[in-house]
Symmetry: D2
Subunit: 90 residues, 4 copies
């Protein structure tokens, strides 16, 4: 079960934005910008990565997990979902 | 108070690594890779951004904050440090 | 869909343990114990609360969400699951 | 360097509130309340514990760490502060 083309475009657009933010932070460090301002940018990057992860979790649950459950199974998929949530929310 | 040249190099090296990971995630989405694998990558990106933030917090505290306290002040710097920690640990 | 009696007992046992830890922190503050030691205890409380939440999320997904999907629906349950994950992982 | 009596009272009051929330969650589980409602409560407990931790971090930085820096040292205190932040923000 894959992302729809539209979802994929949105995800990639958001990832490109994060890529730009990461490059922005590199420049801030090169330019000796004030630490606090850099930290605020890093917090924004973490938060944006988290939001993308939640989006993926949602489409994965709606897709793979739902299909597996409808096919009479799903136990393994739910176990896997919980494992990744443990890693992702650490 | 700035980062030392050596610290700056390490920070930028680590940020370039994250930039590469972000591009890797874009490619994984384009290639319809399995969501769980993408989520593990996103968790790694969040964790790496967090570590860079902690490094910056440390050098900022050792630098700016310490200097301000030694100069007989520091109250504003500590307030600002706590504000950024609130944002950063959200 | 409810927790099994056994799961409920485990959850309540773990919550009682956290309750004891919270009282321990109160005593540490009354006794002017070293801040760092108190913070380590608070980190343990946060981590234990998080683990209980993940356990509940898992049994909820295996229970309510799976049942709803098997009954041909589940969309609302998945939306609700994602909403609570947004709150829970903030 | 200890908390002021007033700060201690506020901290203990907030911890008692969390203790009450933990007992509330136990009752919700005994009463088979809806998982999502319990998870919202657990998220509130985590968030309240986090806020208490930030308060303690702030008074510790204003107290112990500032005193140590004014006395011409502080390196060990900053290292310890960063260690606890690593644990606390995990």
């Amino acid at each position: 079960m894959h992302q729809s083309e539209r979802d994929k475009e949105t995800l990639i657009k958001n990832l490109r934005k994060i890529e730009g933010q990461i490059r922005g932070v590199q420049k801030m460090i090169e330019d000796d910008r004030y630490c606090i301002d850099i930290l605020v940018q890093l917090a924004a990057i973490k938060s944006a990565s988290h939001k993308i992860g939640l989006k993926l979790l949602e489409s994965h649950t709606r897709g793979c997990v739902t299909t597996a459950i409808r096919d009479g199974g799903g136990d393994d998929h739910i176990a896997e979902l919980m494992d990744v949530m443990r890693v992702f929310t650490k």
